[in-house]
Structures are given as C-alpha cells and as structure tokens.
C-alpha cells in the first residue's frame, strides 16, 4: 500500500490569486463588501461574477444547506437531488424551497428556473445529461460552482476543516455576504474547539454503504477529517482516496473498536446494523457484538456546513459508549 502522503499545499502552486484573495478577505474587516466583477478559480474553471448571484439552483443537500446556513435561501430558485430533508433550524425554510427534481435535474429543467448560478455538491452534477456541462452553462450566461472538496478533475488534497471554512468564506464572498460567512466560520471554530478529542486510542471503520463489498471512508475525505476531530484512528487512513470499495476481510483484519454508520434515506443505519449482525464474520467483530456504533446522517458525511455539528453529535455518542471489555 502507498504510505500516507503528507498534505500537499497544491493551491500554493495552482492558484496564487485565489489564495491572495483569501488572505485579503481574512485581513479585511468583517463588514467588507465584495467588489465585483469577482473572479474565483473553481475546480479548474475560472468563474467571474459581475454581481452577487440572485437566482441560484442548488444540487445536492450540501449546496442547499450552505446557502441556508448563510441565510441566503431567498436567492434559491430551485433545488435538485436532495439527500434528505434539511435538519432544524433550517427545516421550515428548506421545505419551502421549490424542488426542480427529486433526482438530478436535466439541463432544460435547470434552465427553465432561469438561474444565474448553479451550485453543485458533486462535480458529476455538471454533465450533459444532468444540469449541463459547465462551459455550456457559461455560454448561456449562467455561472457554475462545484463544492471544492468534491472536485475530481483537480486533486483537492486531503480535506481539512480549514478547506471547509475556505468554501464557506468563498461562497460568502461570491454572495457579498462576507459578514455572515465570517460569523458562521467563527461559530463553527468555536463549536469544534469545544469538542475534546477522545484519548482512548480507539480505531474506527466509516461504513457508508454496500453489502458484499463495503464502501468505506478512507484517508483523504470528510470521513477522515471527522474521525480525526473525534480523536479516532480510521482503519483505512493509509489509503489515498476519500472513499473506497473494500472487503470484509480487510475490515475484520483491522478489528475496529467502533463503527460509524452513515444513515441515508435509501440505506439506513438500521439496515447496516442488521447486515453487520447477519454476516458470519462481521457479527464476531467486538464493535458489532457490543453495538459500538456512531450514526451520522448522509448529508453531514460529505464536506459542508454540517460537518462541525456532526463532530459534536458524534463526540457525544462516542462519550456515551462503554468500552470496558
């Protein structure tokens, strides 16, 4: 296996202007208004805003929740491909948003909402058979933005909370809502600072989906970031990818102390608990025998504004686990 590669500060080489803008934003007083036109480098595409976006289509829960968290839901003209209902305190505001499609909306549906920005949680949302390719949207005067952590055409490197906060800051900048973004970042930093990482030296498996070949969180994505914040050692940490298809043998070999179960509408934590209990090998894992599970909602398991809250929530679950043999 490849050894754990240190975090390469790729942005230093690739996007000095964006970095300078970030420093500039941090240095300015919180009330600073954004100067337009504003150009940001986003997943290998240069995106220019002449004014703050007024009509936004969000795809995937992470994108919608980002705008909800910044109080920008008035700008949303349509949502698509939501992974589940938004949690409190956003539930009511989220329920009022027009739904373009339960699944990935097609380009025509997106265009019919007449957006000036399409904000996607996955890069693959911008396909010809999805919301439309990014250059095609740009030709129609519609800007596009991919959650940087989900960028696959340029390696975003190992995810950190600083990278999550950089996305919040960038979105705040784009929408001329820097004060709200700075406030949110400060709040999340305080939230995280209040969490005491577990010191029991525990290992964990991040079980996302799959029955015969488990799909698990590996070394570079949101699962790794959250596990590190919790003070847990990811048993798949050495693999240089956000998620991988693994095998039960590899999992059983590492004997994780606790198992994180991703709770999705289409693949609930309960279903996964049943599978683990029925499989002849995983049913013998100490974590399964003693029901040492942490549950995380699917949208909080992808990079975004819910990660910090997930850490707090999971830390409480972890503290409540009795690990005396």
């Amino acid at each position: 296996m490849s050894t754990h590669s240190p975090l390469r500060p790729r942005y230093l080489r690739l996007a000095p202007p964006a970095l300078l803008a970030l420093f500039a934003a941090a240095a300015l007083p919180a009330q600073a208004a954004t100067t337009y036109p504003l150009t940001v480098e986003n997943c290998g595409v240069s995106v220019t805003f002449d004014q703050a976006p007024q009509r936004v289509v969000t795809i995937k829960s992470t994108a919608t929740e980002m705008l909800l968290a910044l109080g920008l839901e008035e700008r949303i003209v349509g949502v698509g491909f939501q992974d589940g209902p938004a949690p409190p305190p956003w539930s009511d505001r989220a329920a009022a948003l027009p739904v373009l499609a339960e699944k990935l909306p097609s380009q025509e549906v997106v265009l019919a909402a007449e957006p000036d920005l399409v904000y996607g949680g996955w890069e693959s949302n911008f396909a010809a058979d999805g919301a439309g390719e990014r250059p095609a949207l740009a030709n129609l005067g519609i800007e596009s933005y991919v959650s940087p952590a989900a960028c696959r055409s340029a390696d975003p490197g190992k995810l950190s909370f600083d990278a999550v906060f950089a996305e919040i800051s960038e979105i705040g900048n784009i929408f001329d809502a820097a004060p709200a973004a700075e406030a949110l970042i400060a709040e999340q930093r305080a939230t995280l600072a209040a969490v005491t990482p577990d010191t029991r030296g525990l290992t964990a498996l991040w079980y996302s989906s799959g029955t015969k070949a488990p799909y698990v969180g590996a070394g570079t994505g949101a699962p790794q970031m959250i596990l590190e914040a919790l003070g847990l050692t990811n048993i798949m940490a050495e693999v240089d990818d956000p998620w991988i298809s693994s095998s039960w043998e590899a999992v059983a070999d590492k004997e994780p102390d606790v198992i994180v179960l991703v709770d999705a509408v289409w693949n609930s934590a309960d279903q996964k608990m049943r599978l683990l209990a029925e499989n002849p090998v995983t049913s013998q894992l100490p974590a399964v025998v003693n029901q040492r599970y942490l549950v995380v909602p699917f949208p909080a398991s992808e990079a975004g504004v819910r990660n910090a809250g997930a850490v707090v929530d999971m830390a409480a679950q972890l503290a409540a686990l009795d690990l005396t043999p």
Partner: protein, 337 residues
C-alpha cells in the same frame, strides 16, 4: 490427442487445481501466515491439527476465504462448461454462457430485488431473472420455427437487449445517493462476500446440471457436423438441443446469481483448451472445467489482493485478461487452419 497425453493433461490439471485451492486460500488482505491458514482449515476438516488463531481470524479464513475460493473454482468450471456447450450447440465460436440473454435477465432480476430493498435475496432475483430470460428466449425460438443455432442466437440477442434496457431504466429511475455502486459491482461480476450456502449451491448445481451435460459429449461431437449428420447418427436433434440449452441455462442462472455477469471465462477457456485437445467434447468438456476453475481461482485471488484493502470486481480482471487471450487464440487458429 493420444490416451496417454490426455491422461497426463487430466493429472496435471487436477494437481494444479488442488495446488491453486491450497495456495490461494492463504492469500488475502488480512495479516495471516499460510501456516495459520492451513492449520485452521485442517482443524475444520477434522484433521488432527489445532488452529493457532482467534475466533475472528478463524471466521476470516473459514467463512470468508474458503467459501470464496471454492465458489470461484465452481463458477469458473461451470462457466467454461456452459461456454463449451453453447459453442457446440450453436456452432458459433463467439457463443458464451450468456448467449440466451441470461446475464441481462439475471442483472434485471438482481437489480429489481436490490431496489425493492431485498439486497440479501439478490441471488434469488438473479436466478428468477435468468430463468425468465431463458424461457422467453426458448419460446421466441419456437415461435421463429424451432431450435436452430441462428434462431437461438437471434432470440437471445433480442431478449438480452430488452432486459438490458429494463435494467438501465430501473437504475436511472431509482439512483438515489450512492446506491448505484452496489448494482455496478453486480453488473461487472464479483465474488465478494460469497458465503458457504452460496458456494455449496454452486457446487450442487455443477453436479446436478453439469453431470448430465458432461455425458452428452459424444452427441455434441455429432452436432459439429450439422443437424442432418447428427440426425443420421440417431440423435433427436431438436429435443436434445432444447434439453442442453435448458440444462446450461439452469446452471448459468445459478452461476450468475452468485457471481454476477463475469465475462469472458465461458468464451475463452473452451477455445484455449481446444488448442491443446482438439474439439472432441468428451475431453474438451472436463478439461475446460478444470482450466476454468483454475483461471477463476487466480483471477479472484488477484481481485481480492492486488489493491488491498480495496476490492476490485473480478469481472474487470477476467475481461482485461480475456480479451487479449481471445485475440491470441484467434490468431493461433488462423495459423492452424
């Protein structure tokens, strides 16, 4: 091929198969020495040895690795047998076990069960799908005027296309979050997570459906010369073809239900063996089974160990190896004929 050479081929392949079983069970992502693995297997088999490993590690060996290795061998043997029979029945060198729409039908059944939330029953869904596809193909073949190679192929192609379209539609309709990942691994063919009941089911199917098919070797030789020649040798061509198609379809249905649509094994192994033995089916069928079993054991061992702790669908490996081997076999044929 002389009798002594044939005997040597049998002995060599059986020895190789046993060696493959013994060695490949010692390979895997878990940190276990071959010695520990063999002692554990030995203890389970009732030999006077004691396993030195913990209960969990015992389960890794006995409940994960061994059923998987056994299933790989059985699936490989079954696919090679079905491929050889299909090639003979249809007199088409491109025929494989999935010719009658079986893999597409099985995929449709498996995906349907998966989407209904019965992922544990996917093998049953796959088997029902394969059976339905086969029945539809046979009915269509009869509507077209009876069992001939061309009609079998044409009916199979249309049923395949129909089932594949239905599968694509279901996946499109239901793709929530990352649920497509499971389906994809199924469609590519994978032996991940095979349990003992599944491994024993494949072995049983190999005995029940494969046994009679093996006995039909001489009749299959007659098919090679055409339906008229076969009939003149006293063979009820239409009826035998239906029975053989049904037998291989039943077996293929069970194979697909356990391993998904693992490609190329049923296509290339018979060709590869034919290069050595000639096309007499009494030797071709059993030797293909042995070769298929060995091939599948090793490709599956590669699937579980090459990129550990990642797991690769074995269908990707069989296709990666199979396509070039097929080309090489074709080139060799050209030189021979």
């Amino acid at each position: 091929m002389t009798a002594s050479r044939r005997l040597a081929a049998y002995a060599g392949l059986v020895a190789l198969l046993l060696a493959s079983l013994i060695i490949s069970v010692a390979l895997g992502p878990a940190d276990l020495t071959p010695h520990e693995v063999w002692l554990t297997v030995g203890q389970h088999l009732g030999l006077p040895v004691t396993s030195p490993v913990s209960r969990l590690r015992d389960a890794i060996i006995w409940d994960l690795r061994l059923p998987r290795v056994v299933a790989a061998a059985a699936v490989g043997a079954g696919l090679a047998l079905c491929g050889a029979v299909m090639q003979a029945l249809t007199r088409n060198p491109l025929a494989d076990p999935y010719l009658l729409g079986l893999s597409s039908g099985a995929s449709l059944g498996a995906v349907t069960f998966l989407l209904l939330g019965a992922s544990l029953w996917m093998p049953l869904g796959a088997f029902l799908g394969a059976g339905a596809a086969m029945a539809l193909t046979l009915v269509m073949m009869n509507l077209l005027g009876g069992a001939t190679p061309t009609r079998a192929i044409l009916a199979g192609i249309s049923v395949s296309a129909l089932a594949a379209a239905a599968t694509s539609f279901l996946i499109f309709w239901s793709a929530t979050g990352d649920s497509y990942r499971e389906i994809l691994s199924w469609l590519m063919g994978s032996l991940s997570g095979v349990v003992w009941t599944e491994a024993l089911l494949v072995l049983l199917a190999l005995l029940v459906a494969g046994g009679p098919v093996l006995l039909a070797g001489r009749a299959l030789d007659a098919f090679a010369f055409g339906d008229t020649a076969a009939a003149s040798l006293g063979i009820d061509v239409g009826r035998l073809r239906i029975w053989l198609l049904a037998g291989t379809a039943l077996l293929t249905g069970i194979l697909v239900s356990i391993g998904g649509a693992i490609g190329f094994v049923g296509l290339i192994i018979p060709h590869l063996v034919r290069l050595g033995t000639g096309s007499r089916h009494r030797a071709l069928l059993p030797l293909s089974m042995l070769t298929g079993a060995i091939f599948m054991i090793w490709t599956d061992a590669a699937a579980r160990t090459l990129f550990a702790p990642r797991e690769l669908p074995v269908g990707i490996i069989t296709a990666l190896l199979g396509a070039p081997i097929f080309l090489a076999v074709l080139l060799r044929y050209r030189r021979v004929t």
